[in-house]
């Protein structure tokens, strides 16, 4: 089996590549080749199969046709411009997030056998005048360009799948907490920073109040969900290829309380509470309460608690000086 990961240098892409290298297979089929694609050189894991990297532009049809061509069986399409950057650089967001997905879909369409395509969408597709609790069939009304680009892409993934051009599966990821590494340009980046930086001995600014609430999932849950999405038969998705992943509704105050339970008082004191009106307004517009029935019914995993999420970060990703 030939597997391609776009966004292979990102933290989810990297974790996925490492996991595939460790397992040597995907949904029970032996992997023969894994290709990691990104705008920067992705790290290659030690693997029992061929591993290669490609650096390029996800919106370039020729590059992506070459990347996905041949005997590609599976594409994990994770490449994206994050929300903050997509809002600041509208054209870049459209090009990478919407045209990039179309380029991937078109490359898949040209294959002799429809590839499985696992696409990372986002709960940023929800917004506007929503009911108090988001249902699986709540209308998508994104209030960011990132969300609009992801929502439009989801529609195309479903339509290309309906046409038989690809076997697509779009997962609406909750805000991923705790992300490893450095803060990025996602408006939600602080939610990881306020756990990660204090645990790693640094201070972190919290730009929202403790009452702010979010719908989150851990990197472990996201990784398992990507693999589960691949494993499920196409029929499990029915007439809509997009699934809202299970998550936890957690307030910033609850996150910090969990940090104290798991790691004591010292890290909590490294959090600097300093409201940023822009971030505060953006986060207040996010949907934090979901009645996600379809995802759990399809077997997608959920995190057990904020404490467990923090513990997993310590085990998997914490970098200490």
């Amino acid at each position: 089996m030939r597997v391609v990961i776009t966004g292979g240098a990102g933290f989810v892409g990297r974790k996925l590549a490492e996991r595939l290298a460790k397992d040597g297979q995907l949904s029970g089929e032996t992997i023969e080749e894994l290709v990691l694609f990104d705008v920067v050189e992705p790290a290659l894991p030690d693997a029992p199969f061929r591993v290669a990297s490609r650096v390029g532009d996800i919106s370039d049809p020729a590059q992506i046709a070459a990347l996905i061509g041949g005997q590609t069986h599976t594409v994990f399409h994770l490449a994206a411009i994050v929300s903050g950057q997509a809002e600041a650089e509208f054209d870049t967001g459209m090009r990478i997030n919407l045209d990039g997905t179309r380029t991937v879909l078109e490359a898949c369409r040209k294959l002799a056998r429809p590839a499985k395509l696992i696409f990372s969408s986002s709960v940023a597709v929800f917004g506007g005048e929503v009911p108090p609790v988001i249902q699986d069939d709540t209308a998508l009304n994104p209030q960011t360009s990132y969300g609009a680009q992801k929502a439009a892409s989801e529609l195309l993934v479903t339509d290309y799948s309906r046409k038989g051009f690809v076997d697509g599966r779009a997962l609406r990821l909750p805000t991923v907490v705790v992300r490893p590494g450095k803060p990025n340009r996602a408006a939600s980046t602080f939610a990881s920073s306020i756990i990660r930086e204090p645990l790693q001995g640094d201070s972190a600014i919290c730009p929202v109040g403790p009452e702010a609430r979010m719908w989150i999932a851990s990197p472990r849950a996201v990784l398992e969900s990507l693999l589960h999405a691949h494993r499920l038969p196409a029929e499990a998705y029915g007439m809509n290829r997009a699934v809202t992943l299970p998550g936890l509704t957690v307030s910033i105050g609850e996150m910090v309380a969990a940090l104290e339970r798991v790691a004591g008082r010292a890290p909590v004191e490294r959090i600097v509470w300093q409201k940023d009106p822009t971030i505060d307004r953006i986060v207040a517009g996010w949907c934090a309460d979901f009645n996600a029935v379809r995802g759990p019914a399809m077997g997608f995993p959920t995190d057990s608690s904020m404490d467990a999420i923090i513990q997993a970060f310590i085990e998997d990703d914490m970098v200490t000086a």
Copy 2:
């Protein structure tokens, strides 16, 4: 005021152009110039203002920038490939329905003052596993490429509006009955044919049973809705620029009964009942029951009855030998 109508040779575009010519104004502002754009030469109405036509490709950025450039105040973007053709010719549908809308949005974005953009979407954006009655906030899950392209376009109209690039308003048109002219490649075309052709003395095939149900609106209601959509202030649209227009839920049997009430037994006998399994299946997948609250609350008009719709066709559009 400079007004552009894309799809100006289509029946809605033509009716709109004639109405603007008759009124000489739009939302109380005097029209100075009207430009009709289409792939075929549009007919120009006699008007108290300058009228011009352009023939071209809606997805060509240079042509559309030239069309919409300058002092354009309002664009009615009606150009589209209909559902049957978009399903049969996937690439054409993507290019005209999705890329064409992006091209229009981008041309509007380049204007010194954001234009008002009235975009004709469709209830084909709804589909899949829907509740028994479609609500205003039911998720879009189109089961045709036409619907997917319209749904993705709606998302972009809302996002471009949120960004201040355009003042967009997307109207989800019910199936328009009775369309004048000839049958087209829309899967719904028969719903007009079975009224129009018999009234005009011709026979028409009904490819579905009398129990099939549809959500419809008359050309008059659609025309008034386009004008009303323009008249409303931007704030009336709130955070979602797409509105499901009011309509009537009517079965084919009820349509035929209305035809008999309005025009007697003779036209009804010109209907040939001959099921087409493909059309029958498509129509069975359509949503016919809507609880459209937002549209009526915003003042969009509704037809009073199927009888009135047929009477209006006889007055406005019937062609007799």
